[in-house]
Every structure is written in C-alpha cells, then in structure tokens.
Amino acid sequence: MAGERRTAGFFEHAGLRARLRLRLRGIVQGVGFRPFVHRLAHELDLLGWVRNDAGGVTLEVQGADAALAVFAERLRRDAPAAARIDAVETETLAPEADAAGFTILASEAGGANQAVIGPDLCVCPGCLAELCDPANRRYRYAFINCTDCGPRYTIAARLPYDRAHTSMASFTQCPACLAEYTDPFNRRFHAEPNACPVCGPQLTLLDASGQAIAGDPIAETLARIRRGEIVGLKGLGGFHLACDARNAAAVAELRRRKDREEKPLAIMVANRASLAGLAELGLEEATELESRARPIVLLRKLPGADAALPGVAPDLAWLGVMLPYTPLHYLLYHESVGRSPSASWLNEAQPLALVMTSANPHGEPLVTDNAEALTGLQGIADAYLLHDRGILIRTDDSVLRRQPGSGSPQFIRRARGFTPTAILLSRSGPPVLALGGFFKNALCFTRDEEAFLSQHIGDLDRVANCRALEAAVEHLQGLLQVQPQAVAHDLHPDFFSTQLALRLAERWQVPAIGVQHHHAHIAAVLAEHRIAEPVLGLALDGVGLGTDGTAWGGELLRVEGAGFERLGHLRPIGLPGGDRAAREPWRMGAAGLDLLGRGDEIATRFSAEPGAAQLAQMLARGVPQTTSIGRWFDAAAGLLGVQARMSFEGQAAMRLEGLAEAYGELRLNEALHVLSAQPSGLMLDLAPLLLDLLNEPDTGRGAALFHAALIQALVEWVGAAAESSGIRTVACAGGCFLNAILARGLRRGLAERGLQMLEARAAPPGDGGLALGQAWVVRQQIR
C-alpha cells in the first residue's frame, strides 16, 4: 500500500528533523481535522500551521524530535472518528527561525482535486445530549450537528467542501453560530452545516393537501403516526414513509397504497433494548446497528416478531432494523417519552416502532424534493414532515447483515453512511468509469488506487433511475475531478447502462469495454481483497449474458486479472418465457420436470396455472437454456409449491431460505448431484436433487434438503476444480450469496477442504457490486 510506505518514511524522519510538512489525503475535510491538529500541536508545544487544500489537509510542524514523533503517532491514533487517512506524504524542511505559535490558515484553492467528501453520519452523543437539554439553545432543534456528525455527501454540490458549496449556502449563520464556526477550539469549528433555531433550517408539517398543520411539527407528527396515519418524513438522503409498525391496519394500508407490494419493510426502534422479543441481536449486529453509518441491519426474527409487527416482514426469517440517525428521528422518540428530561430513556426499551420505508413509489428513485414529495407521494402519505435544507444527492439507506463465522458484515445495499468512502485497490492505475448492470445499478469511478462505488441507484427499467444514473455519473465525476480513460459495461447490449457507456466512451473518445457479468462479480471480490494471483471464481447468480451469448449464472471460473476461463457450469435448464420464468417459479418447476423427462406431469402438477399445458408444449419443443443457479432455486421453490409467482426479485429463494432455516439442519444420506466432464467444462447436475423434491410432502424439509444437497454439491464441484488446477483460493460472488445458509455452508465446506474463501465485504455480492469488478477488469486491460 502506497499510503503505508509513505507513513513509514514519515516516522523515520520524525525522529531526526525539527520541521516537517505533511500532506494528508482521505476523508480529512469537514470532520474537525484542523481543530484536532491545532489542539494536538498546542498540547505538544509544536509550532506551525494547518490548512485545507484541494488535495486534503497540509500542515507544517516544528519542534523537538520526541514531540514530533508523538505527534506523528497520535495524528493517526487520535484522529476524529469521522476522518479516514488514506495517505501521508512527508517532506523535511529546514526549521524556521521566526516560527511562532500554531495557526489554522485559510483554505487554499486550486491544484489537483484529491480530497473527498465524507459520508453522512448519525448525530453524535454530544449533539444528542444538547438536543434533549432544555437549557441548550438547540433544545429540540432538528438540524443540530457538529464536525463529528451530520450530513455531508447528501448536502454537497462540489468540492472543496465549504458551506458555500452545500445546500446550507442559503442560510446565513447568526452571531452565536458564527462564533462557534470560527473558533478552532469549538467542535463546530468549520462544521459546514452548523445552524440553530435562529438562523438555520426549519420543519413544517403539511397535510395531504399541502396545507400547513398548526402546532408543534414533531408532536403533531407523532400524534398522527399513533393514530395510524402514514407520514412522509424528509430525511438525510431522501424521504421515508413512516407509520406505526405495531399497527396492523396502518401497515396494511401502507402496503395497499404502495400497490400491495409484499416486500419486507424496515423498521426503526429507539435503541437495541427495544428489540427484545422482536429480533435476535448478537454483539456483532449491535456494533453495526449502532455504528455511525446507521445502516438497516437484517436481524433474525424472534418467534413473537410477526405478532408484534403484523405484516412488516411476513414469511421471511429476517427483519430489517435501524436506529434513529438524524436529530429529527430522535425528536420523535423524545416526544414519545413525553420529552423526558432524563437521558435514561435513550437506553431503555421504548415501545414506539416505526415502519421506515423508502419513499420510492413504483420502484422509482427516492423522493428528495419537497415539491416532488407532494406530487409523488400523493395518495400514499397522509401528511408530510418537511424542512428547507435541500438534499442534493439522493442516497438510500444502506442495508447490511452480519454473517456468523465470516468476520465482517455483508452489504445488501451500499449507500448512506458509506458512499462516497473509497474502496482501496492494490495499486494505482488509470482512471476508469464502470456503469454496472441492469438491476440494483451502481456505478464506479477509479482514481489512483481508490475505487468510488456510487450509492445504490436502482433498477434501470425505470425511466427515473436511468436519469439518476446519468446524473450520478456527472455528479461523482465533478466531485472526483477525473477523466476516465475507458468505460466498462456489461455484455448485455440492451441495458441502459451499456448504452450509456457506449455514448460516454464516444463523447470522451476512449474505449468502451464489455466485461462478462460473472467475471465482473468475481473481480469485485478480487478488487477489494487486492488479489492479483489466479483464483477460482464461484459465481452463484441470476442470469447474466455469457461470452457465448447464452444465459449464464452458475459458473466456476478461473480468474486472473483481466482475463478468465470458464472451468465449469451448472447443467442448463430451460427458461420458458425468458424474464417471465424468473418471476414465476412454477415455470421453473415445470422446466425442472421437463429436464427430468417428466414433462407429461406439468399440466397436472401445475393445474392451478392456466398456461401449464401450453408451457409443457413449449418446453417439449425446446426453449432457451440457462446455467443460472438462481433459476434452480426457483425450480425447487416451484416444485415444492413454496411460491408460484414472485412480487419482488429473489422472493422465492428468500422464502426457501426461511423455510430451511425454520426446519433446521438436515443430514444428507447420499449425494444428490452428478459431476461430469463436458466440452464446455465440468458440469454440475442437480437433477437427482430435483427428483427428490418431487416426492417431498414437507416443504420445510424439502427446503432444508435443497440447501444441504446444494452446498455439498458446490463444495465437491469447487473441490474438484481446486484439485485439478492447484488453486486454493476461491472468490465467491453473485446474488445467491445473500442466502445466509448457502454462504455459511460454503464457508464451512470449503474450509474443511483447506480452501480459502473470499467474499464480498466492501460491496454487495450481487449486482450492486458489479461496477467495482468491471472497473477492476478494465483498468488492467488498458494498462
């Protein structure tokens, strides 16, 4: 790592010289870094100065060798929590005879833009205490923040990160705020969104028709939620729709108004104590839940959860939970405890549980704008809690989950609290742009050794998401000041992301390079783990276009840098009706029967489906085939009768997982798969497993059997490839790794065979991480 090397150099010098100039890169602006340096220098009796510039922070310190050494050490160790130092460049200077004191100099503009704006952070303990303190001038002020907390990425238009370049530009600080802002010893020194009730943003509560509602907005909002109403809440990166999660009628009404969707809804509770009886909370989960990024964390439901939270996450093993993160959220809970003057409520169980679902009607981007909310959420929200601080960049809540035994959490969606934090690559290289896939799209820019994976953008079948992708490219490019030397895209010609890639490449006169979908999935894992040597890549995924023009998705690859070789694949199974088959597991069940040579049973087994006989006919005549393992999951769900049709992506596999989890571990008597050498590679055939499922009357047992046999089959398949190739590292990626049973089983199985398993940690294992892999591949192709 370049940064580490430079640091080592700095330590050497620190013991020898008396004046040093340090240039720090990373997240060092807007996080209280200069006051921190200022305090540290004062404490150690060092002379010099510190300032922000386009590269990050530059400082000079002069003093005794020993003090300089301590300074160097504490610079990293005691840096503000919101800061992240990626690199330190050190220069030794001659001591200045007239040096006196330590000062914070004005920011220097110009030069190459290397600085990065930090992610949005939850309200800090200091601000939270002030928020609930009746004596504080910011008592119950929903926009309290300091350099340790608050909005950043979502309010920034461009660099450098100064108030003038944020949506706070229109608010002029009052004398009291300005005094804090200009005092290096205050924790609000250069807190760009600094504000108070006198000078800052204000809340307004509007009714469904857009008329202002009199009274205290917080008290009124809570009262309405308690009455069962649905309120649109303006948050950090967009609007939420909130209602009482314990009110069955309110939840059902929310679902009805959002088009009866069956997707699980996330909830917010006051603190971890409030989860008692609802969800299992391990130490690791608690850490994530309480982290400053405040993601939605998927927790295993407890038996009473569905009764306590009716309709919130039916039929699933997991419950999405987050803790309050904005002062506004805390004010709702503060109100719910009668504005208790004692701080103890913060850690005590509170009954108020809120459904907090993204206000993204019809799968369109999250609503961010007040006017947009009043039109876009019409017919859904009964009231709107608005404010006048603009959201400049739409950013959804992040979703992640701890995986026992894996050592770190897994992203399901990476957005608020994490973007734009860079993922560090193993080395520097030319800047590239990767535009990702079709579903769960996110894009990725690289700059030197950093990869900037954008926030989750959404599915590109929606017009507004396509626009959001274009806007995100422009915005991130502006923030990073890079000119990509290549544009990466998926091999699928009809993705909007592919078409946009071709257009941008043409405009910039740089190559547009297609990267195979599953190669990119594996490459994303290699990128974050900084692996250069050849690995086995196990891609367990939905459909992605293969280099042979067919639909891949259960692939065993040998990946080395920019290239890959297909070592094996799942046995192809019919995809009757293309994308329809991916939404209707009964069709895949029928395809399974056809594959078993029992197509004549399709019409009777799926007699509830009007098209069953015709589908059997189609299958008999031949339909396009896929090696996607996602479709084998669907086939199992279809044959077990778990789910005939899905209302959201992955629903059948998630229910299958839930059933298997509820059933518990199952011991296999025999292998239910066949490995065979084919001209196209080592083929894994799961037909014997499907055959067993045909005669399984207990869906729970069937689901458990499917998982157990699949894991054994995959382990042997990968094991065989490891034997023949001599490669011991297995990079695993693809949407199926969101299945906790599968991931856990593979972790154990591969470890037992002495194989090292690498998983996606810095980015989602599914299509949300695709752009990172595409960027990594293409950067090596053009080098």
Partner: protein
C-alpha cells in the same frame, strides 16, 4: 421445382402460374419491364422495396404471398403515397412443392387485386436445395405522393399525439404460437392488411399529419424509438390506452414477450398535432382498418429522448430499443 431449369420450363412456370394469376395488361405485354403512365398532377413519386422471409410460410390470417403485397403497399402508404404498381421477385428453393407456390401466388394475386395495385413485372430464380428457405419474395412498389403531403418524423414536436390504428401484436403472436405449436381459446390471426385506403382517408381529414410508420419488426417500441431519435424529443405512452387483445396479451405472457416489441403487418402508428388528434381518431375509427384505433400517448420534451411508458401501476418504464431478440435480463 428444379434448380437451373431455365428456358422452357421457367417460361412455362411464368406463363402458367404468375402471368395467369397476376393477369394484367403490363404482364401480358411480356416485356422485361413495365411501362406505365403517371397520374396527372401527382406531386412526387415514391418507391419502396421490401424482402419477405417468414417461417412458417402459411399462418392463420395469411401467408407470405399476401404479406409481400401488404408489406410494400404499406411502406409506400407510410410516406403518404398512393401505391400504383408492384414488382415481385421470387427466390425459390429447389424441390419446393408447386402446389404451395401456387397457393402463394394466388394469395398474392388476391391481395394485389383487393388493394387495387397490380403486379406489373417480376422475376423468378431457383436456388439449390438447402440454399433457401422455401420461398423468399421481394416486392417493390411505386406510387405518388400528393402535393402538400410532407411526412417526416423530424417534424414531430413535443405535445403531438401518438395514435395506433388497432390492436397490437396480432401478427407476431400468430406466427410465434404456430412455431411453438400453441393453441389458445381464441384463435389469434395475423393482422396482415393493406393500409393505403386508411392512410388516404387520414390524410384527407388531417393533411398535417407529422409522420406515419408501420410497426412491423421491432413493433411499436422500435417505431417510437425511431421517432424519438429523429425528432430529438421523448415519447410517452400510457399502458392502459394501448390496444392489445386479451388473447394476445395472454399468449405474450406465456411466451415471455412484450407486445410492444411484437411485429404487426396491418397496423400503423400516426403522429399529429394535438388539436387534430380527436378528428384523426374519428376518421380512423370510421375506416375498417382503423376500427380499434386509439390515442396512446404523446411526444414530450425530454433531453434524453427516452421512450417511456406510464404503467397501469403508475411509474414510468423505459421502452428502449432492443438490439435483437428479447434477451433475459433478470439477475
């Protein structure tokens, strides 16, 4: 049929099959080409050509013969022209049954007669077995465009209305169902038909029509994307306004097809200024070929030039241009 059978055999085929059924003075003159007068006062001439390959050759509602007449007649009609004459070129595969060829020629002759557009010249070649797919037919049509008629997608402006002349997807679904050997409760027939009569009525009522297109291969989606690109604006259609027969929708669902992308052979898409839309719709509905016409959307201001559909659930879906067949996308 046998390959290379020049001379007498071919002459006999032409005389006994083509000349007999297409029968008109131009063919009877037995020249290498046809000479014909132009109508007095015609504005400009229009010429269009289209090669027809379809499998299977015979399908519910038609066959390659009538299709090859309708296809070119419609291409001429979409320029706003009145089609006058057709030329037909046949490429036949050796061994193709004469009875089938006869059926096709009779169907062509009937279609030409019904359309009032004679086939005035033609050519026939036979290729070796395996080098063709039964029959390929290329037809070329000439016609005239009346003065003042100026159809071009570049003339489309935001606010203009989009109309279709009837139910979408019939032809493509009829063909696909036959290929897949699927039967449905209600038989789905190809909509193959000549549209120049309808077009004449439409232009008569609304000479300011901006553009006309027949949504054949690539369906409505391809036409709207062509419009959007040429006009530099967006297109917005409303799912609930788009006429699709229940049986076609059901078949599309089964086959995993989107009716917006399925071929039609007897439908047109028209764009006209908003103030003329209702009048145009009334005229279309009064014509047998436009009975089920509908206003389906409008051209809109959109910097991206996106073609978008407001779905029945709300929200806007992209209706983008496909590079080829509908490939699976779901990951």
């Amino acid at each position: 049929l046998s390959h290379g059978s020049g001379g007498r055999a071919m002459a006999q085929l032409i005389r006994e099959l083509f000349v007999r059924h297409f029968d008109n003075d131009y063919l009877r003159a037995q020249n290498d080409g046809a000479c014909f007068p132009l109508p007095a006062g015609a504005g400009r001439m229009v010429m269009a050509t289209d090669s027809h390959v379809v499998s299977p050759l015979f399908f519910p509602g038609g066959d390659i013969g009538c299709l090859s007449v309708h296809g070119t007649v419609n291409d001429v009609a979409m320029t706003g022209g009145q089609p006058l004459y057709l030329a037909a070129g046949f490429i036949l595969e050796e061994g193709f049954p004469l009875a089938d060829l006869q059926r096709i020629v009779i169907s062509m002759a009937a279609a030409a007669k019904e359309a009032g557009v004679p086939i005035v010249t033609g050519d026939t070649k036979v290729v070796e077995q395996g080098k063709g797919d039964g029959v390929f037919i290329t037809t070329t049509g000439v016609g005239v465009v009346a003065p003042g008629i100026e159809l071009a997608p570049q003339r489309i402006r935001p606010g203009d209305k989009l109309l279709v002349s009837g139910y979408l997807g019939d032809h493509g679904v009829a063909i696909m169902s036959l290929r897949e050997n699927l039967s449905f409760e209600t038989a789905i027939e190809s909509d193959t038909a000549a549209l120049h009569g309808l077009v004449a009525a439409m232009l008569d009522a609304v000479p300011g029509i901006r553009s006309l297109r027949d949504p054949t291969r690539g369906g409505l989606a391809a036409v709207l994307n062509e419009f959007a690109e040429a006009a530099g604006c967006g297109m917005l259609i409303h799912e609930k306004a788009i006429p699709v027969r229940g049986a076609v929708a059901a078949a599309c669902e089964l086959l995993g097809l989107d009716p917006l992308y399925v071929a039609n052979e007897g439908k047109l898409v028209a764009v006209c200024p908003a103030e003329d839309a209702e009048r145009l719709l009334a005229v279309m509905r009064a014509h047998p070929q436009g009975r089920d016409a509908a206003i389906i959307g409008e051209a809109i201001v959109d910097a991206n030039g996106f073609v978008q559909m407001e779905t029945v659930f709300g929200g806007r879906r992209m209706v983008d241009w496909l590079s080829g067949e509908q490939l699976p996308r779901i990951c």
